[in-house]
């Protein structure tokens, strides 16, 4: 029962409204509704073979090849490598002055210490031969290789994107 929030004159009308009977639809109402509930009508079709996937699949030896899953480690590695390559390319093409200035100042003030520490660390991490190669003035060559790598990665990404779009259109 609802609370009275109307004046006394409406009380008898409210009482009559509450007594209004429900009206019934036709007897076969429920059957007609059920006949048009897609979920229930689709149920007997469950035994039928599943319709072919709308996505393109790679088949090998008559069997669909499961798509490779991106592991977290691989994804992190790729992201790190990508950022490093982009940073190197930005440094090479746009000459990030701030980084240069910091490196110059550090090199000027702590040149010997940095050189000694860098050589030691580099020897441990990269190996003595690599350090010797870098010290021979091949830094530019490394950056060039990195730029080529960025180009390859970009090209690969573009091809994958194009293939994905083509797959979606074909589906």
């Amino acid at each position: 029962m609802i609370e009275h929030d109307f004046d006394e004159e409406f009380v008898p009308i409210a009482a009559e409204l509450q007594r209004l009977p429900y009206l019934s639809p036709s007897r076969d109402f429920a059957d007609r509704v059920i006949a048009r509930v897609d979920r229930l009508q689709a149920a007997p079709a469950r035994a039928l073979p599943a319709p072919a996937s709308r996505h393109l699949e790679l088949h090998r030896g008559g069997q669909a090849v499961a798509p490779r899953r991106f592991s977290v480690i691989r994804a992190t590695g790729r992201a790190t490598a990508g950022v490093a390559l982009i940073a190197a390319a930005a440094f090479m093409f746009f000459e990030v002055d701030l980084l240069t200035a910091i490196l110059s100042a550090a090199t000027t003030q702590y040149a010997f210490a940095i050189a000694a520490a860098g050589t030691q660390i580099g020897t441990v991490v990269l190996g003595a031969e690599t350090i010797a190669y870098l010290q021979a003035g091949a830094v530019q060559a490394v950056i060039l290789y990195m730029t080529l790598a960025v180009g390859l990665l970009s090209g690969y990404t573009a091809i994958r994107t194009a293939a994905h779009i083509a797959k979606r259109k074909a589906a």
């Binding site: 109307f6 209004l20 639809p25 429920a30 979920r39």
Partner: protein, 198 residues
């Protein structure tokens, strides 16, 4: 899957069974709400055939989207909301003239007019009381018929279905203040139409 008894089972639980694909759960939901939903729609469109079509459309839409039901809301509120939307859309689309309680204006013969007329009955009363009640009930139906469809939905949900103002606002998708205004005006109009009866 054997049919089970749904006595004392809440709407929410029946919905869960329906979501599992049990036909008897679908039928139970229809059984529980076909009359309230049909009555609301009929009192808005005043035509039995149209009301059946719209009620059918309401249940088909609700049952086909049963997975989207959010249990934090009352199932009946969700159902009435869809019923109201479908009916208002129909009235806007068709700009239907409301028909008389005595029968559809499209009825050609007296027989078809009787068939489309609303018969208001109530039980458990003496013949005289029943007759008076029936007369008053018919007068109320006529008075409701004269209200704007928006007022009809609000007044029926409030006084026939016992919904709170907040729930009505949710069902008819109108601000709370608008709902209160509609109900206030509907009461005033009903009082005017039924003034001679009291």
């Amino acid at each position: 899957m054997p049919a089970r008894s749904y006595t004392d089972v809440s709407d929410q639980q029946v919905v869960v069974y329906a979501q599992e694909g049990r036909e008897d759960a679908y039928r139970e939901l229809i059984k529980r709400y076909e009359r309230p939903v049909f009555s609301l729609i009929f009192r808005m469109v005043r035509d039995r055939e149209t009301a059946e079509d719209l009620a059918q459309e309401t249940f088909i839409k609700v049952l086909n989207n049963i997975d989207r039901y959010r249990p934090e809301f009352k199932f009946s509120s969700w159902l009435f909301k869809i019923a109201n939307n479908i009916t208002i859309d129909h009235l806007r689309r068709r700009q239907v003239d409301t028909i008389s309680i005595e029968g559809s204006p499209n009825a050609i013969t007296a027989e078809s007019a009787r068939a489309t007329a609303v018969t208001v009955t109530s039980g458990g009363e003496s013949p005289l009381e029943e007759l008076e009640s029936r007369e008053l009930g018919e007068e109320i139906e006529k008075a409701i018929e004269k209200l704007r469809p928006e007022y009809r939905a609000c007044i029926i949900l409030r006084h026939v279905e016992d919904y709170s103002y907040d729930e009505i606002a949710e069902i008819v998708k109108l601000p709370l203040g608008t709902v209160k205004t509609y109900i206030h005006r509907a009461r005033q109009e009903l009082r005017q139409y039924l003034g001679d009866l009291r």
